[in-house]
């Protein structure tokens, strides 16, 4: 016993217990939502078969019918094509929202008077019910693709503006003085200090905007239905035709798209600034 070196086994035990803990953590993250999901499916079946009589069962078709409808070849292709179009609108709208939002915030961060003049409009944009503007957007830009993108931008813009501005203004005063002491110019301060410091806030805004961009894209093609249908158009078509299993399948696809885009931007943010910034600390 005394001849064996004590250190290596100890290290191994530690390593193993760490893995065990990690595995345990993973189960404890996944298990509760999974249980809730199974519970919801149960409630769903109960409503379909216990609450609704047969004539009204189309209001809530049972889950297996929804799955079957989704995998029906014709419907599947229809939904997937719509998904592709909506994703494209959401991503294009989001890209515009990011560029416009960041530029808007940078302009406001450069001078107090610009901020005072422009910030109220960012808030107004956030407050107008976009649906009220939808007819007008249709008049001006047609009832097709560009109008969908514009609705998407309007819905996704505000979090980009406010988060970027917050990030740019949250620079540590000491770091600012460090740059002032070297007589750094405005552009240098923006590119070497303010912008990198704002990145975590920008990515947080991007994640919120990404979710909203999906909402915007679906609202957009719900109303602007000329041209090829997106998920929004499909939703209204299936509703009109009382094809409720397909309607449910489309709703789930739309929800998954939102979650996927939200997660994607969360992941990108972590990749870019996670090395030096701890998102979980906030």
């Amino acid at each position: 016993m005394t001849t064996t070196p004590p250190a290596p086994p100890k290290v191994r035990t530690l390593a193993r217990s760490a893995t065990v803990r990690k595995a345990k953590n993973r189960t404890s993250t996944w298990l509760p939502p999974l249980l809730v999901f199974l519970g919801l499916i149960g409630v769903w079946y109960a409503i379909t078969f216990l609450v609704l009589d047969e004539k009204r069962r189309f209001l809530m078709p049972p889950p297996h019918e929804v799955v079957a409808a989704f995998f029906d070849p014709a419907t599947f292709v229809e939904i997937m094509q719509a998904l592709g179009r909506t994703t494209l609108v959401a991503l294009v709208g989001l890209a515009f929202a990011i560029v416009i939002g960041v530029l808007w915030a940078v302009a406001m961060s450069q001078a107090k008077w610009v901020e005072r003049s422009l910030y109220p409009y960012a808030v107004v944009l956030q407050c107008i019910p976009i649906l009220a503007l939808v007819p007008l957007i249709g008049f001006w830009f047609g009832f097709e693709y560009p109008a969908r993108v514009i609705v998407c931008i309007m819905i996704a813009l505000f979090p980009m503006v406010s988060n970027t501005l917050f990030g740019l203004q949250s620079v540590d005063p000491g770091q600012r003085e460090l740059f002032q002491l070297q007589r750094a110019g405005r552009w240098t301060i923006l590119t070497k200090l303010e912008f990198p410091a704002a990145l975590p806030a920008i990515f947080a805004g991007m994640r919120i905007s990404a979710g909203l961009a999906v909402v915007g894209a679906i609202v957009g093609d719900f109303f602007f239905r000329r041209g090829e249908p997106g998920l929004g158009s499909l939703l209204s078509t299936y509703t009109a035709r009382l094809r409720s299993a397909e309607l449910f399948a489309t709703i789930f696809v739309a929800a998954l798209l939102g979650v996927a885009i939200f997660a994607l931007f969360g992941w990108i943010g972590k990749r870019v600034v996670g090395k030096w910034y701890d998102f979980s600390a906030n």
Partner: protein, 257 residues
């Protein structure tokens, strides 16, 4: 108030790097932070300013660096090579040690190759070799401060301004950094103006201790420190050191009442 010229300024170099004459500072809101401050820092000197919090000692440093202009009096700075070490390390969290240390040279438009070499040298000087690729969040408080020191050293300053740089560190780290600072001071030949609220740190580091008092900030007394450089850490246990610390503390208390 006039202050007699310091008797300790080493005879070899006597040229002046920084001079305040009757400097006063009144903020726009009406509070007077400083009044009638006259002080000179010469080449070869390491001057510390002790005083209670809020006595305007940091304001003095900000005036010297040009961050905040004084509202009255003459401020004369006779060098463009000024190092400034802040209370916090103020490192950019997205840059590693090497590139944080390069920052000031970069802002001054020094070519990449040259600033890499200068930064490397400065990192060696503060004893951080091997940590070049580390991000600030992986460093201890003391190491962050060393990085901050190295960053200022790349400017090869003639006048070094320190705004309570070690105030947030633990006693052991602080004493070690004090010794490093003394070594740098003896090797690098800069003049220092060091703000602190620790009497023992002030006496240990400097060639001259200035005692300030608040409301509004003014100089109440001044003590030459004559221990030879580089300082032997053990002087902290001598009677002369204790006596001098006693005198400074006494002046602080009298100025405060």
């Amino acid at each position: 108030m006039t202050i007699a010229p310091s008797p300790v300024a080493p005879a070899t170099t006597t040229d002046q790097l920084l001079r305040f004459e009757n400097v006063a500072m009144t903020f726009p809101n009406g509070t007077t932070a400083l009044s009638g401050v006259s002080l000179t820092v010469n080449r070869g000197e390491f001057v510390t300013v002790v005083g209670p919090s809020g006595c305007g000692k940091s304001t003095l440093l900000r005036i010297a660096s040009g961050l905040t202009p004084a509202t009255e009096g003459v401020t004369q700075v006779d060098t463009s090579r000024i190092g400034y070490v802040f209370q916090d390390a103020t490192l950019l969290p997205w840059r590693d040690v090497q590139s944080n240390v390069e920052l000031l040279a970069e802002l001054n438009g020094i070519p990449k190759k040259q600033r890499t070499a200068t930064a490397k040298e400065a990192i060696d000087l503060v004893g951080l070799s091997g940590f070049e690729k580390h991000l600030p969040k992986t460093l201890s408080g003391g190491m962050k401060m060393r990085t901050s020191l190295a960053r200022s050293l790349t400017l090869n300053p003639e006048l070094f301004l320190f705004d309570e740089p070690f105030g947030a560190l633990d006693e052991i780290t602080r004493e070690r950094l004090n010794d490093e600072l003394i070594r740098l001071f003896t090797e690098q030949q800069f003049a220092g103006l060091f703000i602190t609220h620790s009497v023992s740190e002030a006496v240990y580091l400097s060639t001259r201790v200035i005692v300030m008092s608040g409301r509004p900030g003014h100089i109440v007394d001044e003590f030459p420190v004559e221990f030879p450089f580089p300082r032997d850490p053990d002087i902290r246990f001598t009677a002369e050191y204790a006596e001098l610390c006693g005198k400074v503390s006494h002046a602080l208390r009298e100025g405060h009442s």
